[in-house]
């Protein structure tokens, strides 16, 4: 079993403050950050959904909760997280199918993901609130 420890020595450069992440890298880490954020806020979102469909009274209570500016800001952030995770996820699925693997295409698609998710967030967010 000791043979499992045979490993290639690879150079490491992990000065996080000096690494300039390329666009696809930014999309990738934001995919992870947005996913983690959505997970952490799941109980809050379930609570809101529960209130919104519970009864006419709880619907009114839900309305007053989401009209709070601070809550609106959080929901705006979560909306972006969902949409970014959504768009970046579709991009990753296409990469799985070997579509857009070339450097130029990958950079272009990551720029599209960033722009489209922010644009959709603004359009939906402004329409909702």
């Amino acid at each position: 079993m000791s043979e499992a420890t045979v490993r290639k020595q690879r150079p490491k450069f992990l000065a996080l403050n000096e690494i300039r992440l390329p666009l696809p890298g930014i999309v990738s880490i934001l995919h992870r950050v947005s996913g983690a954020g959505l997970f952490l806020f799941l109980p809050f979102l379930l609570y809101l959904f529960d209130r919104s469909v519970g009864s006419p009274e709880s619907f009114a209570a839900y309305k007053s909760v989401v009209s709070n500016p601070f809550i609106k800001l959080i929901l705006f952030g979560l909306l972006w997280a969902y949409l970014h995770h959504f768009c970046a996820g579709i991009r990753f699925l296409l990469l799985d199918l070997h579509k857009g693997l070339e450097l130029e295409a990958a950079r272009k698609s990551s720029r599209i993901v960033l722009i489209v998710s922010i644009a959709l967030t603004l359009v939906i967010g402004v329409k909702l609130w």
């Binding site: 992870r32 959904f49 619907f59 959504f86």
Partner: protein, 115 residues
């Protein structure tokens, strides 16, 4: 020559596929949900809760929650595998997340069943 000990047959393949299958389902659900929401005559309690009450969208919404929680499990597990090195702590976190997600699934069922 690369010496490699391959353990097990297809470790992780099921989760890899599960993550993508749930993702594709959630993309389709998101579009269906958005279309239904856009077609609501007004944003009232009756219209909004009626959208999920029984029927096809209610069924899909429950599946969406299950897909979401399974998807979240794989994603959060991957994050812990990457960043939490001590095995004991990682295992404990995995158990906490699993319990939470199963609890959320029960909560989601209770919300939708009540309608």
């Amino acid at each position: 020559m690369v010496k490699r000990i391959v353990v097990g047959a297809h470790y992780g393949l099921r989760d890899w596929i599960g993550q993508r299958a749930t993702a594709i389902f959630m993309v389709i659900y998101t579009v269906i949900f958005a279309l239904n929401a856009l077609m609501l005559p007004e944003m009232s309690y009756e219209a909004w809760s009626g959208m999920f009450a029984g029927g096809f969208l209610g069924f899909l919404t429950f599946l969406f929650f299950l897909a979401l929680f399974y998807h979240a499990w794989i994603g959060v597990r991957d994050i812990f595998m990457d960043y939490i090195k001590p095995t004991g702590i990682r295992l404990a976190l995995h158990v906490v997340v699993l319990f939470l997600l199963v609890g959320y699934a029960g909560w989601a069922a209770q919300i939708l069943w009540r309608l």
